[in-house]
């Protein structure tokens, strides 16, 4: 009997607490940047497309909802010719972000993705690619990779020596 009354009392007390729920959509919650919502493709600090179409996100995705086709531009940069995420399948697990070696793919705090038509949940590359670097402001994969691209020849990357002169006779 006493415990029932105690329980009722606690519940009654909660009625006067500060509310955790907000009146969405009039009021919007503030979510941590680490929140796992809508996925974007970011750019490196120079504005270049970050994604190098390495297929790691698509490989790791447990529901296989990412499909990519790689190609190369005239500057020697590999990039995704097409990049599609089927958000009606995505479980927002964030594994793609974790797998991405270039920090290109990132989950954002935007969760408002409901659609009347499932078709609209299929995002193509132009829907995914944003203008900025997202959560990571520094990383620039091609600066640390060994591959030469236009504007960064062999030996011009971070922590790289000048290319070897193979005709040199020095030991």
């Amino acid at each position: 009997m006493f415990s029932i009354l105690k329980g009722l009392w606690i519940v009654f007390k909660h009625g006067f607490r500060k509310r955790e729920t907000v009146l969405y959509p009039e009021e919007r919650p503030i979510l941590s940047p680490r929140y796992r919502g809508r996925i974007v493709l970011t750019r490196d600090p120079d504005g270049g497309e970050r994604c190098v179409a390495c297929y790691l996100c698509s490989a790791v995705c447990p529901v296989d909802c990412i499909v990519i086709q790689a190609t190369e531009d005239e500057n020697g940069r590999r990039y995704p010719k097409s990049f599609r995420i089927n958000f009606s399948r995505c479980i927002y697990c964030g594994l793609c972000e974790e797998a991405c070696p270039t920090t290109a793919i990132q989950l954002t705090p935007d969760f408002e993705m409901a659609e009347y038509d499932r078709k609209n949940m299929v995002y193509e590359k132009e829907d995914l690619l944003i203008a900025g670097p997202g959560k990571n402001h520094e990383y620039n994969f091609y600066k640390v990779a060994g591959l030469a691209i236009k504007g960064k020849e062999k030996g011009q990357g971070i922590e790289e020596n000048e290319p070897v002169d193979i005709r040199s006779l020095m030991p």
Partner: protein, 905 residues
């Protein structure tokens, strides 16, 4: 059987193996780089270290390189010992100090031996904090991409390229930490087997260049066991598909044929299926002059059956590049009397001769493995590098094999590559290559050039030496006779010699002569084998169909009143002179052409029916040795295109009112085996569609196949259910049996921890030997041999030059003479150009220079071609490029006048 103890467990081994070979053969994981089963050991990379103990008491042991240590009975070693384990991790770490941060953009990633080995050794954090060494890359042509930063200096590339493939333009440069692998300067790799660098190099230095433009990871490709479509040897391949395009072709290990290596035509030629010339929809042309209009599959069916039902006489023209099933379906539709082979006149004659020789025996046909292991080889006439490239490489492998045998006599193990090479430095004295022009085997074999008739005479003379029943050609000079005697002496000593010839010189006497030599050897009791390079992938299969020669049809074409001709996957402009082609189209009102791409016959036909290519259809080929092999469709298009045999079947169903004829490939196969005697063993070569392992089909997709739920999301939200393959035990799916299927059904090689091509180790019974689930090969001509030998007599007379005339022979090119390979993007950048090859003497006499434009006149037809000088060519003969696009068909060999063209430049 010798036993060794690895980590205290006993393992039986074979005599003469090294430790690494033995350990891998037992399925143990031992990292390695510089060793390769096709190359042997040099001990360069230090990755394969193991601990070797004196005896059971010894716990410390000493470190040895397993690839350089012979495995001997009772030996005790450890892979797991702390010392060698940490040493191996260190080796990985050293290799990684300069390794670029490239995996995400490296085409090797996901199938990289370096990745696999690094994971295996347990090295996972880079501690080296200094700057990395870099290299400039080279442009190596359309096939192979170069990214030198990724090199770990294992030396496999140069060892393969120079020592095995016989290339000279790839080398190592510089010293110490700066060793560089490349060419002296930028430029296309010259060797015809350069593509194997992609698989031989354990890193991403050499990668598949055409693949780069639309790259996918190995795990994302849909793959199936297939057979090369581009020459008669039938090398086994694995094409990989993504988004309905064949992305790349990899080697499919088959120890009896191509083992670890393919030629560049086979590796890069199959992307013709992606070419602009592909025919995806059928076309209808009301009148000859009309522009063709596209028609649907239903309309195609209607118009074809209408043409057929009103036809007085329908003939079928088969094809040496169409499957057995397609040829058989056509034969069934038109009846045996109306079925023609679709070959040029010479090809028909030569092919039936080859068939007669291999059927009659007593010499068995030789597989590439037989060639590799032969103790003497004689090549009569065939320019193998251009007509059967992998066979030329097999000869090189034979030379290595023979050197190993020589070295074994002084106790040098076969795998000890450098020692073998140092011991045997001279050319082979058991391989003889006699050709009309240079053959690219000069550096390893005894080789000389003769006129094709004289080569045949030489063959007769050799056979005469071996058995005097064979007639000796008249008038042979002493020099030639001496050569014949020498070759005969070597062959006589051999236990399992192989005699190689082929059809590309269009000289029947060469076939006779080579058969005589082989048979004479058989008479002596040796198990001599014979090997013919044939024109196309299923030439041998077509020869089993009892088709009449196309030339016969041409002879009676005016009288015979043919109303419909069905041309199956064949371009008649490559078989008939332009004049005869005109006659063909003029006299046959309705020509129906079935093919998977645009070609002249397709463009000229009334009804052009789109059929699927090898990548989307399943079928069977018989290779040059009579080996029956099935290739399986890799993928299916959303807009499905049918195989030729299915299209023809539908027409038969209608015209013969057999509504339930051939529901699947198995049913047509059964019918075919019943009707064609030679093919009765066929059943054993194939697995029926109902074949399953553990109640499951074999998946064409890896279990890492990604994008399943997004691939078609742009079209439909409803994920289609996997297509059902009614023709084969393979499934268009990632689900199915995950173990190792029978050898002919392996869609890809993969094992946990072994993502690269080297995972084939895990599929082999013994490394470099047969596969674990090896099916016995079905070779059609292994039985039914009569002991009685009837030699061919009447050798040709020696060639005599005709004044003012040249005898013209065809010259084939590895890149260009195969019409479909020429459509592949990579190969189209590497095509040979039309030309006429003249001997040095003739050119000097005529004052022609390389590049002079001449008119070659055969009968009344003219070809205007630039001159190429072949110093070795006998005077009075010339070699005219054959089969190249844009060149009119010439009936060769013929005599021609060659004159400097008026508008010479």
């Amino acid at each position: 059987m010798p036993t060794i103890f690895i980590d205290d467990k006993p393992y039986f081994i074979k005599e003469g193996q090294n430790l690494l070979h033995a350990a891998l053969s037992h399925g143990l994981d031992l990292p390695y780089f510089c060793w390769h089963p096709g190359l042997g050991s040099v001990g360069a990379c230090r990755q394969c270290a193991v601990q070797h103990f004196k005896d059971a008491e010894d716990t410390k042991g000493r470190m040895v390189m397993s690839c350089m240590t012979p495995a001997t009975d009772g030996m005790r070693v450890s892979i797991e010992h702390e010392t060698c384990k940490s040493f191996r991790a260190d080796v990985s770490e050293w290799m990684m100090t300069n390794h670029p941060h490239d995996c995400p953009v490296c085409d090797e990633g996901g199938e990289c031996h370096l990745q696999d080995m690094t994971v295996m050794t347990g090295h996972n954090y880079r501690q080296f904090r200094f700057k990395k060494r870099t290299f400039n890359n080279q442009k190596l042509g359309p096939f192979v991409n170069h990214e030198m930063n990724r090199c770990i200096t294992c030396y496999r590339c140069v060892r393969y390229y120079r020592d095995v493939a016989g290339g000279t333009d790839l080398n190592s440069f510089a010293s110490s930490n700066r060793v560089y692998f490349g060419r002296n300067e930028d430029g296309t790799l010259e060797n015809e087997f350069s593509g194997n660098l992609v698989e031989v190099c354990p890193t991403g230095v050499f990668t598949d260049k055409p693949f780069k433009a639309f790259f996918n990871r190995k795990w994302d490709l849909q793959m199936a066991p297939s057979v090369c479509q581009l020459c008669s040897l039938g090398c086994n391949i694995i094409p990989g598909e993504r988004f309905e395009s064949i992305r790349r072709v990899q080697n499919r290990y088959n120890h009896e044929i191509n083992d670890y290596f393919l030629c560049d035509k086979g590796r890069f030629g199959h992307s013709f299926v992606n070419s602009k010339e592909r025919l995806f929809v059928s076309m209808w042309r009301q009148k000859a002059k009309d522009v063709a209009s596209e028609i649907s599959q239903e309309e195609t069916f209607q118009s074809a059956t209408k043409l057929l039902s009103s036809s007085k006489r329908t003939v079928g023209i088969g094809s040496p590049r169409a499957s057995l099933e397609a040829n058989f379906a056509l034969r069934t539709l038109v009846g045996e009397d109306n079925f023609y082979d679709g070959l040029s006149r010479h090809d028909s004659v030569l092919l039936s001769k080859v068939k007669q020789i291999v059927q009659r025996g007593p010499a068995l046909t030789a597989s590439l493995q037989n060639v590799k292991e032969a103790d003497a080889i004689l090549v009569l006439g065939e320019d193998l590098i251009n007509t059967a490239p992998r066979l030329a490489l097999a000869i090189r492998q034979n030379v290595i094999h023979m050197a190993q045998k020589k070295a074994a006599a002084v106790g040098i193990a076969a795998w000890n590559d450098l020692a073998v090479r140092n011991f045997v430095r001279e050319k082979s004295d058991t391989v003889f290559v006699v050709t009309a022009s240079k053959n690219k085997l000069e550096d390893v074999a005894a080789s000389f050039q003769l006129h094709p008739d004289n080569i045949a005479c030489l063959g007769y003379a050799i056979a005469h030496e071996l058995n005097s029943e064979v007639e000796l050609p008249k008038g042979m000079d002493a020099d030639l006779l001496a050569k014949a005697r020498l070759i005969a002496a070597v062959l006589r000593e051999a236990k399992n010699p192989v005699i190689i010839s082929g059809t590309s010189l269009y000289t029947e006497a060469l076939l006779d002569a080579s058969a005589n030599v082989a048979w004479a050897l058989c008479r002596q009791g040796s198990s001599a084998r014979i090997c013919y390079a044939l024109p196309e992938a299923n030439s041998m299969g077509l020869s089993l169909m009892n088709a009449k020669p196309l030339s016969l049809l041409m002879e009676e074409i005016v009288a015979s009143k043919v109303s419909v001709a069905i041309v199956l996957e064949n371009d008649l402009s490559r078989r008939l002179s332009s004049e005869n082609l005109g006659i063909f189209f003029k006299n046959i009102p309705s020509v129906i052409a079935l093919d998977s791409f645009q070609q002249q016959t397709v463009r000229q036909s009334k009804l052009a029916v789109a059929t699927c290519s090898f990548s989307e259809g399943t079928g069977t080929f018989v290779n040059n040795e009579g080996r029956v092999q099935r290739y399986y469709s890799v993928f299916e298009r959303k807009e499905k295109i049918l195989e030729s045999w299915r299209i023809l079947r539908d027409w038969i169903r209608k015209s013969k009112k057999k509504a339930s004829l051939w529901k699947n490939l198995d049913e047509i196969t059964d019918d075919m085996c019943r009707e064609i005697d030679t093919l009765s063993a066929f059943d054993q070569a194939i697995y029926r569609a109902s074949f399953q392992i553990d109640g499951q089909k074999i998946p064409r997709e890896t279990n890492g196949y990604s994008g399943r739920t997004a691939m078609v999301a742009n079209l439909t939200m409803h994920e289609p259910k996997p297509l059902v393959d009614v023709d084969s035990p393979l499934a268009h799916s990632m689900e199915g049996y995950e173990g190792q299927p029978p050898s002919s059904l392996i869609p890809f090689f993969w094992e946990p921890g072994w993502n690269s091509v080297q995972s084939v180790n895990k599929y082999q019974k013994e490394i470099g030997g047969e596969l674990k689930n090896q099916q016995p090969a079905v070779r059609l001509f292994d039985k039914q041999k009569s002991k009685k030998i009837v030699f061919f007599q009447r050798p040709p007379s020696l060639f005599k030059q005709q004044s003012g005339k040249w005898q013209i022979f065809p010259r084939y090119f590895i890149f260009g003479s195969e019409e479909r390979a020429a459509l592949s993007l990579a190969i189209s950048e590497h095509l040979s150009v039309p030309c006429i090859g003249i001997g040095h003497e003739d050119a000097q006499k005529q004052k022609w220079l390389p590049g002079s434009m001449v008119n070659v006149e055969i009968d009344s037809k003219k070809w205007r071609l630039p001159v190429v000088i072949h110093p070795e060519l006998e005077s009075g003969m010339a070699l005219m490029a054959h089969g190249l696009a844009g060149m009119d068909y010439a009936e060769l060999p013929s005599y021609a006048c060659i004159r400097l063209s008026e508008s010479a430049t």
